[in-house]
Point group: D2
Chain length 345, copies 4
C-alpha cells in the first residue's frame, strides 16, 4: 500500500522536514539516553512553546506517553477516570492495569466528551478501602471521536477534578488539531485550562516515531526519568527523537500539519454530508469523520481504499485525515464512494 | 559532543546504509502496527538468516527485547537465572520485576560467563512453593564484560537448562561481535546451540532505533503480539524499524559492523596492553575493554574523551568500540592516554 | 455492638459447632502449611460433597478466593467478564488489577444476573492485540443483589463462555443460600452446570475465617499452591481452617445455616412488603433484601440497628440475614422500622 | 502428627489463653473489617506496649505483614536491602516482586546479621535511572539463623539507612525471643533504635492466625488500610484476630512464650554441644539451633521426630523451639539423637 488513504494518521510517513532533521543529525557520537545537546534543545523548544519552563520527556509511543504521564498521580489503590471512548480504555490492551496497577473507570459520553455531570457522578460513589479511589482524570483533546472540548469545558472539568484532589492528564496524540480548531494557543488550551501533565503527540502529528510527555505543574513528575526507564521507554540514541521534535515545533510545523488534516476532514465532510446513504455520527471538529454507511458498501469501499471499521453493528466506520491528506485525495475518495454506492444499490 | 569516543556503541549514529533505507521508505501510506510490506520483508530476511522460518518481532529498545522475550517462559512464581554481570540484572531498573513479576537470580561469574557448575548450583536449591521456581536461563553473547561463550559452552549450558525444564534466552544486543569472534554462522551460534529465543540487537549494531525478538523454538511465543502491545512496544509506523533491519541484514552489514568494532577493540588492546599503568581486567574477545587505571588518571581522561566508569573502587573503566571506531580513533585515544599518564605521574 | 443486626453475614460470629472444632484441634504439633491430617480430611470432605475428586485449597478471605481462583485462566493481556454488581468489580479495591494484571469488564445487569444477550455482546467486540482479550467469566451465586441463577441460566451462560474459550468461575461466598433456594444439590448447581472453579465461602457461611477454592475441571489449577503462596494466602497453622470446614460440611451444617438465613430474609420480606414506605428493589431469592426507604428514615434506623446503605441517591439500603438471624430479630427490626417511620413522617 | 517436635514454631497450636479469648468473643454481632470494639482494644494494647500511640493493623500471615509494611517505602523503581538469610528473600516466593514491584537486594552475612560494612557497600553502588534505587532496609530480629542484633548494632544500621534516605523495617515474626535475650523492653529494642515499621509476629508467638504491622514513625503509613485491602489481607471477622492479640499482650504472655522457647533452645544446645558428631553452625541466641550432622543420621532422625533440613550439602539442619517446648521434649529428642547416632555409626 502506498496510496494515501483515510485509514489513520499513523499510516502517513514522516513529514519531509522531520526526515531532513533526522538525516542532519546522523553524524558523530552523541551522549546516549538524552544527555546530548539536541535533547536539551528540543526540551527548550517545548518550554518556549508553553511560555515558561516545563518538564519534557521523550518516549516511544502513545500508550507509553499516556501511562508514564499518569504515573504522576499513581496510587496503588487508585483509579483513573476517562471517557468511554478513551484510547487508554479501548486501545492500549491491559497496559494500564499492568503498568499502573490501577483501574480505569470509563465515564459514559455521547460524542467522546466527558460532561461535568458525568464527572461529578463518577466522583460521587463510595471510596472507602473496598473501592478504587479516583486519583486522576484523563481527557483526550481532540477526543477519539473527532470532537473538541472548548476552553470553558476544559476549565470546568479540571476545576471539578482538582477540587476532589485528582490530577488531570491530557492525551494530546493529535493536539494540534484541537488547537487549530479552537484558534487559540497551545498554552491557552493546555496550561491555562489547568492541565497538569500532557501527552504531546509526535507520530500522528508528523514524526516517524516518538512522543513527548510535558509536565506543566511544577514539581509534579520529578521521578519521571526513573519511570521512563522501568517502563522500557528510554531510547539510547535519543538525539533522533529530539531532532524530530525540534523540526516539528519549528515554525509551527505541527500546527500546519494539523490544519491540513482538519481541512481535509472538513472537505470530506462537506462532500459526503449531502449523500443520502451517509450518516455522520459525531460532530466533525478535528481531523476525523465517523459515519454510518449501508453495510453492503463497507467492504467494497475498504477493498479499494482501506479504512477501519468502528462499530459494524451500527454500520459505523472511521475516516481519519493525516497531515498529507490533500484535496485530490478527498475528491478521489468521494468519487470512489459514490461509484460503489451506485453499484451496491 | 560529536567526536567519536569509546564511551558506548550507543553513542554512535546510524550506519549510512541504514539511514538511506529510512529515507527511502518515507513516502506514501503504509498499514500501521506491522501490517505493511516492509515488515513482512524484514521478517523474511530473518528467516533467511537462520535458514528456516523463525518468529520475528520488532520492539523499541534492548530492555524491551529482553523482557518481552522472557515472557515466553513467564510463570507468576518463577525466576530467571542470569549472570551477575547481566544487563537484565544490572541495567534495566526494576523493569524485570514490574513487567515479568518474577525474580532475577544472578549467578556469580568471573568474566561474565556462567559456568556449568554455577548453573547447576543455582538449580540445586529448594524449589517448593516457598521459593521462586527457575523458569528460564538468560545468557548474554557476547557478555557484558566483553567475553564470548564458545559453541560448546553454550551447548552445555542450554542442555543443563533444558534438562531442568528451563527455557533459554540469549541477549544478543551485540550478537554480531560474538559471531565475528567465533567465525561461525549465527545459525550455528544461536539455533544449533539450543537457544529458544533471542534478543537480536539493532541499535548497538548500527541502527537508529529498534531491536528484534527472534523466536527459534517453533510455537514458543505465539502470543508475542499481545505481550508487545501491553508492554507499550508496538510501533505504529513500523515500516521505519523494518526498513532499518532490512538494511542491516543485507550483505551482512551487521557482521561487517561487528568486525570493525572488534578490530578496533583488538587494536586498542594491543596498544594499551604494554603500558605499565593499564591492567586489563577481562579477556578481550569482542568490542569492549575493561581496564584498571591509576585513579588520578581517570577523570582527566574522561574530560578529554568521555567513557563510563565501571567500578571506581577498583579503578576500573570500560572502553567500548562501535561500528564506526577506526584506526585513527584508537591512535588518538592512546596518544591522549599516554600524554595524560605522563602529566598525572 | 453485640445485638444481632441485618448489616451483614460477616457481622455474625462463628457457628458454635465450628468453634467446637477449632477448640478440639488445639493440641499437639501438626505439620504446617497444609501438610497436616485435618487438611487432608477437609479436602476429602469436599470431594465427597461433589461426588468425585476435586481440587481443594484454603485461603484467608473472599477476595483472595476469587482472585487466586481466576489465576486458573490468567493471561497477561486478558480480561474477566463479570456482572456490574460483582464483588470482584465493586468491593475488592484494585486487587484484581494488581494481582491478576488483567482488566475487569463489567456487564450491565438488571438484578445482578448476567443475561445471555449481555454476555454475547461483551464477547462480540474487537479483540485484537489492542484490546484486552476475555479469558474468563465470573458468576456470583447467589448474586450480590440477592438473586439466584436457575440451573438452566447457569448452563446457558457457561456454554456460551466455553464456546468462546473462556473459563468459568463462580463466586460462592454465600453458595448455600442458592443451593437452598433451588432445592438441588451443590453438585447439580456447580459441577453439572459447567463451572470450572469455585470460591466456596467459609466466613459468611458460618466460619470464623477461611474460604475454599474448589477446582472442578480436572487438571485446571495444578499450580494453585504456588499462586496461593505468592498471593500471601498460605496459612502456616492450616489445621485451624481445615477443622472449620470439616465442621461446616458435616451433616450439611452450611446448608442449614443457609436455610436459616434465607428463612429470615423471607420473613423480613413478608413483613415489610405491605408497608407503603418500603419498596423492594430486587427479587428476594436468597438472604438479602434491597429496599428503598424514605431518606429521612434511613439514618435514624441505622442508629438503632446498623445496616449498610447501598445507593443513597435512590434511598436504597441493604438488609442481609445471617445464619443466626431468627424470628425475633426480624420482629424486633420490623417493629423498630414501623415506630421510626411513624416518627419521621 | 501430634507429638511436639522441633520442626517449627508454626507446628505448635495456639496458646490456651489465646484460644480462650477466641471462644470468649464468639457471641453476638460485631462490626466487620476492624470497626469493632475488640480491634480498638487490641490497638490500644499495642500503644500501651510501646508507651505511645502507634499505628496498628492486623493481617493474616507473616509474608503479608512484611510486604504491606514495606509498602510504606515503596517506589516503583526501588529496591529493598535485606540479609541473604532474610525470610522475604528466601521464603516468600515471588510475592515481594509481584506485590511491591520492587527488587530485593540481599546482602551477604555470616550469621544472618547485616554488618555496617555490608550495608554501606550495598548503598555505595550506582543508583541512576538504570539501577533500582534502595528505598528500605529490612532487618529480621531475631534473625532467621537464630542470632540477635544488639541494641547498638540496630542503632548503627538504622542510622546508616536513615542517612541515605532509606526507611527501616523490622521483621519480628519471633520478636519476643530477641527481647527476652537482650533483657530490654520492646520499646527499647524497636522504637528507640530507630525502626520505622515493624512486623509483630502473632502465629509463631502463640496465636492461631494473625500478624500485626506496627507503625512507629508518625504519619508513615496513613494509607495502610488501602494497602491491606488490595493486598487481600483485610479480615471481615476481625474481632477474632484482635482477641488473640489482646490475650497475647496481656501480662506479657508473648514474652513468657518467648522465654520458654529460648530456654528450650538453650537446653537443647547445652545437651548436644558436647556430642562429637554435632556441630553448631550459628550462635544460639534465640529459639533456634542450626547444626551439622553426619548425613546418614539426618533421615532416620527426621523419621522419628520431624524437622526441616536447611542445607543438606553441608549436612545442616534446623531445630526450632516453640512456646510449648519443654524440658521433657528436649530430653526425649536428645535421647533419640544419641540412640540413632549409635546405630548409624
Amino acid at each position: 500500500m502506498s496510496e494515501r488513504t483515510f485509514a489513520s494518521d499513523n499510516f502517513a510517513p514522516a513529514h519531509p522536514k522531520v526526515m531532513e532533521a533526522i538525516v542532519a543529525c546522523n553524524s558523530g557520537h552523541a551522549m546516549a539516553y538524552g544527555g546530548d545537546d539536541l535533547t536539551k534543545k528540543a526540551q527548550q523548544a517545548f518550554s518556549k512553546l508553553f511560555g515558561r519552563d516545563v518538564g519534557c520527556h521523550f518516549v516511544f509511543n502513545g500508550t507509553a506517553a499516556n501511562l508514564t504521564a499518569l504515573m504522576a498521580f499513581q496510587k496503588s489503590y487508585g483509579s483513573v477516570l476517562c471517557s468511554d471512548a478513551a484510547h487508554i480504555a479501548n486501545d492500549e490492551s491491559t497496559a494500564p492495569e499492568r503498568f499502573l496497577g490501577m483501574r480505569l473507570s470509563p465515564i459514559a459520553t455521547e460524542h467522546g466528551k466527558i460532561s461535568p455531570e458525568g464527572l461529578r457522578a463518577a466522583l460521587g460513589g463510595a471510596h472507602g478501602v473496598h473501592h478504587p479511589v479516583p486519583v486522576a482524570l484523563s481527557l483526550t483533546q481532540p477526543t477519539e471521536l473527532g470532537t473538541v472540548y472548548t476552553l470553558d469545558e476544559l476549565k470546568t472539568l479540571t476545576a471539578i477534578a482538582h477540587e476532589h484532589g485528582l490530577g488531570v492528564h491530557m492525551d494530546g496524540a493529535r493536539l494540534g488539531c484541537a488547537v487549530a480548531t479552537l484558534g487559540c494557543t497551545v498554552k491557552e488550551m493546555v496550561a491555562d485550562t489547568g492541565i497538569d501533565i500532557l501527552s504531546f503527540g509526535g507520530t500522528k502529528q508528523g514524526m516517524m516515531c516518538g512522543e513527548a510527555v510535558i509536565v506543566l505543574k511544577p514539581g509534579l513528575a520529578e521521578e519521571f526519568p526513573y519511570w521512563q526507564k522501568h517502563a522500557m521507554q528510554l531510547a539510547s540514541k535519543m538525539r533522533f527523537i529530539a531532532a524530530q521534535f525540534i523540526a516539528l515545533l519549528e515554525d509551527d510545523l505541527w500546527l500546519d500539519n494539523a490544519r491540513r488534516a482538519n481541512a481535509a476532514a472538513a472537505a470530506l465532510k462537506k462532500a459526503v454530508e449531502p449523500l443520502p446513504f451517509v450518516k455522520i455520527a459525531h460532530p466533525v471538529e478535528a481531523n476525523a469523520l465517523f459515519v454510518s454507511l449501508p453495510p453492503a458498501l463497507i467492504e467494497p469501499l475498504q477493498n479499494e481504499t482501506f479504512f477501519w471499521p468502528w462499530d459494524l453493528s451500527k454500520g459505523m466506520v472511521r475516516w481519519m485525515c493525516a497531515f498529507d491528506s490533500d484535496v485530490e485525495d478527498v475528491e478521489r475518495f468521494v468519487a470512489t464512494l459514490k461509484r460503489l454506492a451506485e453499484s451496491v444499490r
